[in-house]
Symmetry: C2
Subunit: 461 residues, 2 copies
């Protein structure tokens, strides 16, 4: 502390900083365990307590980053010396932190899987201290990417086969959020992103059109269109709503015809304002009348799955959508009620399932497994049971980390995306739909129910 008289921006986060991206209490609790030599094996599970009212399912995402961050977590000299300055920690504990690295196990659901409320997306097993220390980081990362992948999938479904592109970087909650949103939306089925760094780092196709400022920088709109299509003869999508959409479209037509003389084709036009369905209809009509059926129409401007769905229902002639704000901030459900809870703890040599009973925040005890059941290739229900319980169905939690080492490779992003596409095809329409459907697809197994009863009895005694 004592730095508050300096002018500081928040700045960026380096790998070295990561150990301190944590709530203080993770460290004070850890020290308390340390001082009492309470370091028995513990299992923590991460899950989403309940679905937002406007979600029927979630799409798991964020695991790869979470595993990378867990395995690289170190307390470096500067972090330790800051902690020392707080006068809360003993030298012994700070020494321990200086040597800390995660040596436990991690089980998780693959990225790009459909999951429901109460189902563990990830389980950390290790010493009580190491498992506790990860809480803030794991929750932050898993719940954000899962939230965005879930929102994105709804948007992709609403577009009924048309391409959707991530236009969110300017509206996301930080630069890192923009990158994670690009990744999670790609998992959700977006086709491309405007985020150049996401292209570089993740191999996602990058695309873009032009801004109104570009059109305004020229004396006449058509001069802007000519200049741009000259520079990008194969990649020009002209923004036609800076002044008047119909006039803008006629200017685009003139430029497209000039391009044809050089054997080039205008790729598309974008409309970003107004009554998109009506405007797109007029624009399609003008383009077709001028034998420019190949020129695509891109729509953007505060779009989300509800608006896109209405556009599609109206039969709007549209080839692709640019979606920013609503996706990047999951605007109708801007947070998930995530929890990272102790579910099992070794005591006196015994593995003991634990649960808390706080009103509305109780958790399910024990190391769990999700058993996904299909009939004729279609999803029927998930059974949430105990790890090792013999239940029919596909077990979703896989072991990803063993004694601190990543032992299961995350599939390539492309494959994660395809897996989700396939899984969505097996989901019934009452889950896929935008409207709120009947809840309760996840059932608790006999062994899990028995464990809850036992713990409740013990607690009410």
């Amino acid at each position: 502390m004592g730095k508050s008289n300096k002018t500081t921006g928040a700045g960026l986060i380096s790998r070295e900083d990561l150990a301190l991206v944590t709530d203080l209490y993770e460290l004070t609790m850890a020290q308390s365990y340390f001082s009492l030599s309470m370091n028995a094996r513990a299992s923590f599970e991460l899950y989403i307590r309940d679905l937002p009212p406007v979600r029927n399912y979630l799409v798991s995402a964020g695991l790869k980053d979470t595993l990378d961050d867990i395995s690289s977590l170190r307390f470096k000299r500067r972090a330790i010396s800051y902690l020392k300055s707080l006068n809360l920690f003993t030298d012994e504990f700070l020494d321990f932190l200086g040597k800390f690295r995660f040596r436990g196990d991690v089980y998780a659901v693959d990225e790009g899987r459909v999951v429901f409320a109460g189902e563990p997306l990830l389980r950390v097993e290790g010493s009580l201290i190491e498992a506790q220390l990860l809480e803030t980081m794991v929750m932050n990362n898993m719940s954000f990417q899962t939230m965005i992948a879930s929102k994105s999938r709804r948007i992709v479904d609403s577009a009924a086969g048309r391409a959707v592109v991530d236009f969110s970087p300017r509206r996301d909650q930080g630069y890192e959020a923009a990158l994670k949103a690009a990744r999670a939306s790609y998992i959700g089925g977006f086709s491309a992103t405007s985020n150049v760094l996401a292209g570089k780092r993740l191999g996602i196709s990058v695309t873009g059109t032009m801004a109104h400022s570009y059109v305004l920088s020229f004396n006449r709109e058509i001069d802007a269109f000519r200049a741009f299509s000259h520079d990008y003869p194969d990649n020009s999508v002209l923004l036609i709503d800076t002044y008047d959409i119909e006039e803008g479209c006629l200017n685009a037509v003139r430029v497209a015809k000039e391009m044809e003389e050089h054997d080039k084709r205008l790729k598309g036009v974008r409309i970003d304002s107004g009554d998109l369905s009506r405007e797109a209809g007029k624009v399609r009509e003008i383009l077709d009348r001028n034998r420019l059926g190949y020129v695509k129409i891109v729509l953007s401007g505060n779009l989300d799955e509800y608006k896109i769905s209405r556009l599609i229902k109206k039969g709007t002639p549209v080839d692709s959508f640019g979606v920013g704000t609503a996706m990047g901030t999951s605007s109708d459900a801007p947070n998930l009620n995530a929890a990272y809870k102790l579910v099992q703890l070794e005591q006196e040599g015994m593995q003991r399932a634990v649960m808390k009973f706080s009103l509305g925040k109780a958790n399910l005890p024990g190391r769990k497994q999700i058993f996904r059941q299909y009939r004729k290739g279609r999803f029927v229900a998930d059974i949430l049971g105990l790890e090792g319980e013999s239940i029919e169905g596909e077990a979703l939690l896989e072991k990803y980390m063993h004694k601190g080492r990543i032992i299961r490779k995350s599939p390539p992003l492309e494959e994660i995306r395809k897996n989700l596409e396939k899984e969505m095809g097996r989901m019934p329409s009452y889950i896929r739909g935008l409207g709120k459907s009947r809840a309760g697809t996840t059932q608790l197994s006999p062994a899990l129910l028995k464990s809850i009863r036992t713990l409740k009895r013990r607690w009410t005694k």
Copy 2:
């Protein structure tokens, strides 16, 4: 591209990456300007188009980071070589980018000032190319921190003098978002944060209590309380709702009494679930009956300004609040309708004000200034006029950067926070209140109105 068969997480953002945290079209437009030698002096302004329905004002924040990021923006070798791989850019333009650094001017409103819809928070003046290139970065950073500072101020006001602590790191949209939320909420008046990195980097006080998992890790609740208060005799806030709140409180009382025997005082108890008002009432009663009037009550659990305001109105005995999700994601208004628009451009040696007319997205032309008017020390109205126009009032936009160099020091965070506190004191209650108030505190100046009329005439001709 072509990396999509590799498994990659989003990862962290280094300073070197920053140049590519941009929409592709900023770069394609820039190259087009470059190829046409269109690099006249241009002015872009960043503003929030309209207030969310549940906001009467905004609190400016994010400037310090924005200035740091602008002045350090460089395209390094790896960024250039990725751009080259896209086959969109000429070698000449990539050379230009390789040497790029921002050499323009920046005007901005200080952080921690109250601002309204349509008012420029920041103006970038420079060559068309350099000003355009900053768009995505500037919008992302300014609008996020402004959104959080605005939300935080509402929460602080609702707490009516009680301390509010940032509990958001686990729920924020990334690690960087958590750090920026800690900073912006401190500007908004939060007292402390649980985010350890924010403590280290920004000098904000860090604080914390304990998690339910801690209590669950012991055989009995009281054992957990004893252990924690033994390790933190001066800083123990005991979480009393893991099992039963009243019983938890009685256990806290026993521990407090044991501490008194060693001349120590239990700092507080925290309630995180249930009917907080009723539970706090019961707990206060038990504490007072046991002569523990000094033990404070901390409330948490999905709190926001509406819930806090209701708790206060009911006379709930509470000393401080922990607020996470609602603040860190600005849950009732999870994005701001920000715009970064070209407002003036030199053409044929003349500075020409420009504006676009897209339906619902028109912008105000020209380099503007906000003139804040007071009467008897109380805020009356803002006049949005043109820079250089002679209007009474405090001019809010200050020059922060000259030819790429930061020339005005951002005030220390502590001072920014105090400035806002002072300014809020001058705001009328219809602006401060949580309910939606009459809009329209910002009036347009005669010169600005005249400029709009002139441009409209020119456009409709």
